[in-house]
Symmetry: C2
Subunit: 138 residues, 2 copies
DNA sequence: CTAAATTTCATACTTTAGTATGAATGCTGT
DNA sequence: ACAGCATTCATACTAAAGTATGAAATTTAG
């Protein structure tokens, strides 16, 4: 944090110095206004990019939004989708059954139907496919 | 794409107009050089931020880097880690065996040892845990 | 209201996953 | 050389996952 303040202060000073330098340069007739403006433009353009990159990197969280349209396209029912999410959480059929207050055989039915719709052979493959299609959170 | 080119062209024209305007303004004595420079600085600062945001949003892929230190902490061997990655890809033990040119029973051994080290009961849970620990790509 | 879809459950079965145990080979660092 | 670890493989077993089929209750859309 101290480093950031230091860097920022140094940057401001450098810019102020450049301002003065450019002003005298223009008055003295050594440099054209166009050149000065161009340099200033480039400098602030770069500063904008750098600052933006810093901020984005700090607060960036991959909030992947779910493709609900794809879920409908696949013909996944509400229950089948719920089961799919629980599978992705690493739960067994038995655990899912307890969580959703239904029997294990019901879960098996949902899983089997879901696998067909996702064109998967195993539940692990279903997780992978669902992630690719962005229908479950990462 | 056409829209981008249009926007960019419009932007360049606007800036050139601003340049001319500011130049005559300064020559006429209506505006100080400082003001012009400040305006230019702000404009390009904003442009820098906007362009950077666009580029980052387009090409942003959640390139989560793998926590190799964590892999060592868990005591996962090279082979066990390989198997873990293949499991996350949705492959069965048999498929993994063929891919790595070993027998299925070898894969079973690796899987079993890996599950203990990851403190998982199932391969699906292992995937979930591995993702949390950031030892496999999302 | 009726037809279609969803959800539920069961039974029987096959396949895959995972555990336990033992053992041979090869590599590595001391 | 030798202890320790990783890798390989096998056999036998248990547990979990997945398939197939049929059927009843519920919801939903037309």
């Amino acid at each position: 944090m101290k480093k950031t303040i230091f860097t920022f202060a140094a940057l401001v000073l450098a810019i102020l110095a450049l301002f003065q330098l450019s002003k005298y340069s223009v008055i003295a007739g050594d440099t054209s206004i166009e050149t000065v403006i161009a340099i200033i433009a480039v400098i602030f353009f770069v500063i904008g990019i750098v600052i933006n990159k810093r901020v984005l990197h700090k607060t960036k969280k991959p909030t992947q939004k779910i493709n609900y349209q794809k879920i409908e396209e696949l013909g996944l029912s509400k229950r089948e989708y719920e089961v799919l999410c629980q599978i992705a959480m690493g739960l067994s059929n038995k655990e899912i059954a307890e969580k959703l207050f239904v029997s294990e055989s019901t879960i098996k039915t949902h899983v089997s139907n879901m696998l067909v719709k996702l064109d998967a052979k195993r539940r692990t493959q279903a997780i992978q496919i669902a992630k690719e299609l962005q229908i479950i959170p990462l």
